[in-house]
């Protein structure tokens, strides 16, 4: 597939600034391709809006370096996405009914993907007023093992805390990171909260906004509760 095929969709002739920034973004793609070659797997370009690129797992650290050399000195953020559809849906199931069947098919977003976890980061070029989001697949591992990808700390010092956060939330190990301690959670916390298969217990116990929230108003409840209330009143 032609990576730049999206350019044909929306640009209109009267939007000169948007077109100008598009050549800018295409230039960035060209330079990235020159630096990474086949390792640049897919590109998504929305003219005048944003640019996404997916690179091979092995090239993750080199991508950061290539971007920094292009002038993307400003580190915005780094995080991960768990593409597995949540087995709990949006937490609106009736806890008394049997759990509904849900699809476990993984649907990736822009620039596609092959694995369950993806890391993504955004860096900005302050001189050219432009930002780019890069993604990389994190290879799947057996249950109980931690997926591994290279760390960006050597490229951007600010990635340190973001990778710590990502490690505790998704259980992804960043090889080469000096100190992957927990940021927010207690050291002995078990599980990785932002993984889709980590249940949000508050919702499982009492779904919201759920059927169980709706209680009958006084006087319109069923017979048995009214009778019980009356009985209480009489005894008191």
């Amino acid at each position: 597939m032609d990576p730049l095929s999206d350019t044909s969709t929306s640009p209109t002739a009267d939007e000169t600034p948007a077109l100008a920034s598009d050549t800018l973004r295409e230039g960035i793609v060209d330079k990235l391709r020159a630096a990474l070659g086949d390792q640049l797997l897919d590109v998504k370009l929305v003219p005048g809006t944003d640019l996404w690129a997916r690179v091979a797992t092995e090239a993750w650290r080199d991508t950061g370096l290539a971007l920094r050399d292009q002038g993307f000195h400003y580190f915005c953020f780094l995080s991960a996405i768990d593409w597995l559809p949540s087995p709990y849906g949006r937490g609106e199931d009736d806890p008394t009914a049997p759990a509904p069947e849900r699809s476990t098919e993984i649907v990736h977003g822009y620039t596609g993907g092959e694995t369950r976890f993806q890391v993504f980061a955004r860096v900005t070029d302050i001189e050219r007023h432009i930002g780019v989001t890069v993604k990389a697949d994190v290879p799947d591992v057996a249950a109980g093992e931690s997926p591994v990808i290279e760390s960006w700390v050597t490229n951007y010092a600010g990635a340190n805390w973001h990778e710590r956060e990502c490690h505790e939330m998704f259980g992804i190990t960043f090889a080469g990171h000096p100190d992957l301690r927990n940021m927010y959670l207690p050291t002995d916390f078990e599980g990785y909260p932002l993984r889709k298969d980590f249940p949000l217990l508050a919702r499982l116990v009492k779904p919201w906004p759920g059927i169980v929230d709706v209680e009958p108003l006084p006087g319109e409840g069923d017979e048995s509760t009214d009778a019980a209330a009356d009985g209480e009143g009489a005894s008191a």
Partner: protein, 390 residues
């Protein structure tokens, strides 16, 4: 994995060696000091563990997480309109500003745009949040240095701004006023005139603070040349907002980004300072508050008429896609990376907060400073705990 373990071992050995050298060369014993979690300079509950050599910090480690509320997880079980209630509470001093980038990201995915009047009112409320937020910083700054008066002035004048926000939105702290496609309501009668009066008061407040605090010899001695952050380091750590501009980097998302707010309709100056020290960071914030009052004045003069809500479906479903929108919030760049799979709620929301990056530089910048300066540097970096912990 072996690589990682070797590195950990090496860094441990290096730390031990540094400690040993410290003891031999200076004949002092290292001491570990806990600043916080309950300390006035921590704006909430941030704990900073510092290792001292005499009065000098050799190593500092901020420990966040006392206020982690898991908003990224919670957004996954909310519908799009429900999310604004949560993200209001990230930076609680400038709540309205938190809502705007998320709503803009959702609008970008749905390919709708708010009507011009809504965009202008959004921008006005955005700048009012900035004024309310930063005026408190200017007062609080005095407290960190032992001056009590400015904070009373700040609370007095911030109240005027909060009254305005309450008048327009119904909430002092958590407006929850922004909607996908526009705003909940139009401005109330008489609000515009009142806002003009308050902006005058706020400009007076800025002048007062400048005379009272920024010209003060003690203030200058304690902030000039302290906690210098060079521009290259600031960018590497992703510092944003006033912290970045104080290092001489001319970058302001209000000016440098095409976004559906009314900033391109007004004339304002982006202040930078070449020094990169604590004084520069405080000074930039003072100038920005003053600049924000001028932005509000200009916007009030030219506010267009028309509806405040675009046509949106009653049940909001956001089409599949990914969007990143960030704005120049009071604390710096705040953005949301929204992934939608065509459902009622987002599939994943990555919240990029300004304070998280601004505080990640603390271990770097505190190395080698003296204990009293720790407080001024933290104060000048200006963070809000909810903004770090999310």
């Amino acid at each position: 994995m072996t690589d990682l373990i070797d590195r950990q071992k090496l860094s441990y050995i290096a730390a031990q060696a540094a400690d040993a050298r410290l003891n031999v060369e200076l004949e002092t014993e290292g001491m570990t000091l806990n600043i916080g979690p309950q300390h006035p300079a921590t704006h909430g509950t941030l704990r900073i563990i510092v290792r001292l050599d005499g009065e000098q910090v050799v190593w500092a480690d901020p420990s966040a997480g006392y206020m982690h509320r898991g908003y990224e997880k919670l957004t996954e079980v909310r519908t799009f309109p429900q999310v604004t209630t949560l993200i209001n509470r990230i930076d609680w001093l400038g709540s309205f500003a938190n809502e705007v980038p998320f709503i803009l990201a959702a609008e970008q995915l749905m390919d709708i745009e708010a009507p011009p009047r809504a965009q202008w009112i959004r921008t006005i409320l955005f700048e009012l949040s900035r004024i309310a937020n930063v005026s408190l910083f200017l007062g609080d700054l005095g407290v960190q240095l032992g001056a009590i008066t400015p904070v009373f002035m700040a609370f007095r004048d911030r109240e005027y701004v909060l009254n305005l926000i309450e008048g327009a939105t119904g909430g002092r702290f958590h407006p929850n006023f922004d909607r996908i496609g526009g705003l909940k309501d139009d401005l109330p009668k008489g609000w515009i005139d009142e806002t003009r009066q308050v902006m005058k008061k706020l400009r007076n407040f800025c002048d007062e603070i400048e005379n009272l605090l920024f010209g003060n010899k003690i203030f200058q001695d304690r902030t000039r040349g302290i906690g210098v952050i060079p521009p290259a380091v600031a960018q590497q750590y992703g510092l944003s907002g006033a912290n970045l501009r104080a290092s001489g980097v001319d970058w302001d998302l209000r000016r440098d980004q095409k976004i559906a707010l009314a900033y391109d309709k007004v004339d304002f100056k982006v202040w930078t300072h070449p020094d990169g020290d604590s004084f520069a960071r405080c000074w930039i914030r003072l100038q920005e508050t003053r600049e924000a009052t001028k932005i509000v004045d200009q916007l009030l003069d030219g506010i267009p008429s028309g509806p405040v809500m675009a046509k949106v479906p009653r049940i909001i479903k956001v089409p599949e896609g990914e969007a990143w929108v960030s704005t120049e919030n009071p604390l710096g760049e705040m953005g949301y990376y929204v992934v939608s799979q065509g459902d009622l709620g987002p599939f994943r929301v990555k919240i990029r907060t300004a304070s998280f990056n601004n505080i990640s530089i603390v271990p770097w910048v505190l190395r080698g400073v003296y204990v009293p300066d720790v407080i001024t540097i933290l104060a000048s970096l200006y963070f809000i705990l909810g903004d770090i912990d999310k």
